[in-house]
Symmetry: D2
Subunit: 304 residues, 4 copies
């Protein structure tokens, strides 16, 4: 672990010397208020010898990172039936999101693009009695932290400006791939995106993906097969149109969010979470990507 510690500090120094050309997400007005200067890393080595640096303990909006958690809950509830309603292929398309949905007749390419995550939300709305609270409780349980909460102001801000998500949900509905009504599903979806967690909390939540499906309290939440497949999906689809680039440069399964967070993990070894709100043109944290690239270069740790 000594190597890791050196790396975190070196990485912080390295990143401090880069001009942050990233831009804070502005299309959700509440997110635009975040201070771009925040930077934090949390490294969980699965053995209780965690390390951290910077703003690792300040909550931020997890946004799309939540899609991995809703997918996990959906797999827990209905297993492989999830794959009757979506595919597991990279979307590969930098800009043409709704067209793919049209061409493929309402079957999202994977659960980590918005269309797929909205279908996952629809599954949870169908399967849970009190969807928002039960999903929140699932996140609190796997994280072992009852303080995690939705930011209602962010959720409302997403609802008021989420026209593309409304377009997507209505298109899914037109193809019969949304069972509940659009408003109910999107209310859930906007809340999952508005979850607030710290780097530390996220590393605890994703512990189970590095630990064969068992959370920090050693409770089994997912089977080993399910975990391997979620990790495979993160690797191939976790970074929008930069998924290939991330696999190429970093070589770890991971997921980013427009709140500036990135989670990445090496099975059986570690979970690492970075937070830096400035985004590159593809919507991934500019400094976070560089920090992770440095981390895997310096430690030599990757799945390849």
């Amino acid at each position: 672990m000594q190597d890791y510690r050196v790396s975190l500090e070196e990485i912080h120094t390295y990143v401090k010397n880069i001009e942050d050309t990233g831009k804070v997400a502005s299309y959700i007005p509440e997110l635009a208020n975040v201070n771009k200067a925040h930077f934090g890393i949390y490294l969980n080595n699965l053995k209780g010898e965690d390390q951290h640096i910077g703003d690792y303990n300040i909550p931020f909006s997890v946004q799309s990172i939540s899609k991995v958690l809703t997918l996990s809950k959906a797999l827990q509830l209905i297993g492989t039936d999830v794959w009757k309603r979506m595919d597991v292929e990279p979307s590969g398309d930098p800009f043409n999101h709704l067209s793919l949905l049209e061409l493929e007749e309402g079957i999202p390419r994977n659960p980590l693009i918005n269309a797929g995550a909205i279908v996952i939300a629809d599954i949870l709305v169908s399967e849970l009695k009190d969807p928002k609270n039960e999903f929140l409780q699932f996140v609190r349980d796997i994280t072992n932290d009852q303080t995690i909460a939705f930011n209602e102001k962010v959720a409302l801000s997403e609802k008021n400006t989420g026209f593309v998500n409304y377009a997507t949900a209505n298109l899914l509905k037109s193809f019969g791939n949304l069972k509940n009504d659009v408003e109910t599903v999107l209310d859930f979806y906007f809340h999952q995106c508005a979850l607030e967690m710290t780097c530390k909390q996220l590393s605890n939540a994703f512990y189970l993906f590095a630990n064969r499906g068992n959370c920090m309290r050693d409770v089994a939440h997912l089977s080993l097969t399910q975990v391997k497949r979620i990790n495979a999906i993160m690797l191939t689809c976790g970074f929008y149109d930069e998924a290939g680039e991330f696999a190429f440069e970093v070589g770890l399964p991971g997921k980013s969010g427009v709140g500036g967070g990135i989670v990445a993990l090496l099975p059986n070894e570690f979970v690492i979470v970075t937070w830096s709100p400035g985004l590159n043109p593809k919507g991934n944290s500019y400094l976070g990507m560089q920090a992770l690239e440095q981390f895997t270069t310096k430690t030599g740790k990757s799945i390849f």
Copy 2:
């Protein structure tokens, strides 16, 4: 005009001998209740010597035919500013409607595809104090018939099942090409589609496009330039993905609707309206298309 009379009767006979393989539109439940056996033609020769056959006097849902009327009203209100918000090119795309909107960043290809007509609806909602009633009054005025009305049951049925239109309006909104809120614009749009008119009433409404902008009472509603351009748009864009085919086979500007109506016209000569609810796979009236093809073949009347 003698030739024309012969034609109408011959056409009716011709069409009666064709098996109607068309299907009544079913995605709007209220439209699915229409009896497919209806068939009517109304020919208005601009000189008061009209001719007709069959169910020319039964009101039906005009659906997309209304787009020509809302476009006319929008041109009356804001003139060429309409073209700042949409183009005049054929869409040319058989299936991939939302993708074109994505690629072209929220600028609909023309005012006769749904995306364009929704922007036109947005213009009318912005410009009129009481949009639905004022538009209805415009239609009554140019038709000189105060009995024309919206079918509220059809409008509601469209609203309840119009997921693709909701998707389109939200996508337009995301690109900033919808000024009013989605619900208000679509409420207007679903009502314009739910206008009910007979073949005769439609021929009277479209009289102004064959008569240099002047309606039957000789009131000028549009300039000659505006009328010519609306006719050009009908010719290039009036029949979904069959616009080229219609120009090729029939050779007249026209517009169809999924209620089974088709209006076509030869400037300075006539307006002809057909109604037959069975639709071909491209969404145009199966027998109506054949009736009009026969009409122009037998009379030799076309713009080419």
Copy 3:
């Protein structure tokens, strides 16, 4: 005809006062040598009272205008069988030409886009014993001018740089919609594009489309139905992605070429040809488009 004369002169004056922002086609090196300052108009009123102005008598490369002539020859040879191998719909797509061909499995959208014209060339190569010479003779016959010829340097220049046409022909071949080998078909195609004609010669060639299929010597080359359909295709597909714009602004069937020529016509009334080598961003002559718009505005002549 007096009005027409006035128009031509006024139009010349009007156009001389516009800054020509067009660019001479440069992707075919031989075409790039043309002097952008050329400007000519030729108006053929079908009665022998022709008018002209400027460089109406200098030959230029007709390029895509030849597609209307090869289509005519193909219809003469195999009639409606032409439509088994292509459609008649506008392509509507500003940039994505090969993708449409892929999506529609090798069936070009219409005979005036390159893919369609290459299939037409394939038909002529199959049907004629000496394709290039027989086609040239056809053009000379309808024009009543034995001096018309291919420019071999231009044909060679097209061959050396025609990678997109090679891509298109090979894609057509892969779908089985090219019967002859790629080199033979493209040799024909590059020659047809390299035809050189003056404004006057072009107006004589297109005389038959304004004159119900009969050429200047009153020989019938096409049926009235064929002529009407060719005119319909010119109107809906004759100007690349500006077809709707041309129908909207000018309101005449026509065809442009990247050599800077435009032919337009009003059935039973006239053929007008303009030449100005500077092209707008969509590949149509910048000043030619404006000249024709002025012409129809001032004369009030259009099909609508």
Copy 4:
């Protein structure tokens, strides 16, 4: 290793009981002659304790598997300059290959789709004096086997029917992303695809990707960073439109070819090669995919 042996035999039994619904590739006539009943597996555990079963020692056409080897050679020759001419993102598109190239202006999405591999071929043609022989020598060297050769009949068969590859190369040329002439580049490309190797030889060739860049004779051919990146590209892009599915079901970097071969590997642990000529609808070996899925399920070996 005992587990592995059990697995190979079990897998053979498992696979023998599956009806092979796959189809032998027929678009290259020479490939269509292969007997679909062939089946072989070769497992190289990096320690000299190899195992095998079935037709592991019969040469077959490696086809697209060669793309990993040409990419390796190109990286060896010009390093990261390779990435100036193509991207590393999954193509994600099941059918619309040339359109993506058009949209992205001649920049292939990755080096394992045909467009990317043709650009790699262009690089080798530029960089090598005797491209085909020097590349063949590279393959022989890393495999430590001087008997490996091109099948000239297959190469010729590919040339005679490779219309889509001609279309692709010409499109690349039109965008300036092909430096040499189309014929020369495709001659190289058709030969690389026509390499013939056995399962055993392929496992020896791919040994270096499991062994940090060093071949069986412990000669360093690629840096560790290069190897990791090649493995990442295989994982995200190695199986056409089934890349996500393979990562999801198998969880190993790998590459398939339409000759029916699949190579997969776990860094630092093993290389496994399967051969079964029947292809599933996405172009990957039907039984090979199932054999590898069984192998990773039974051994629990994957990168996730």
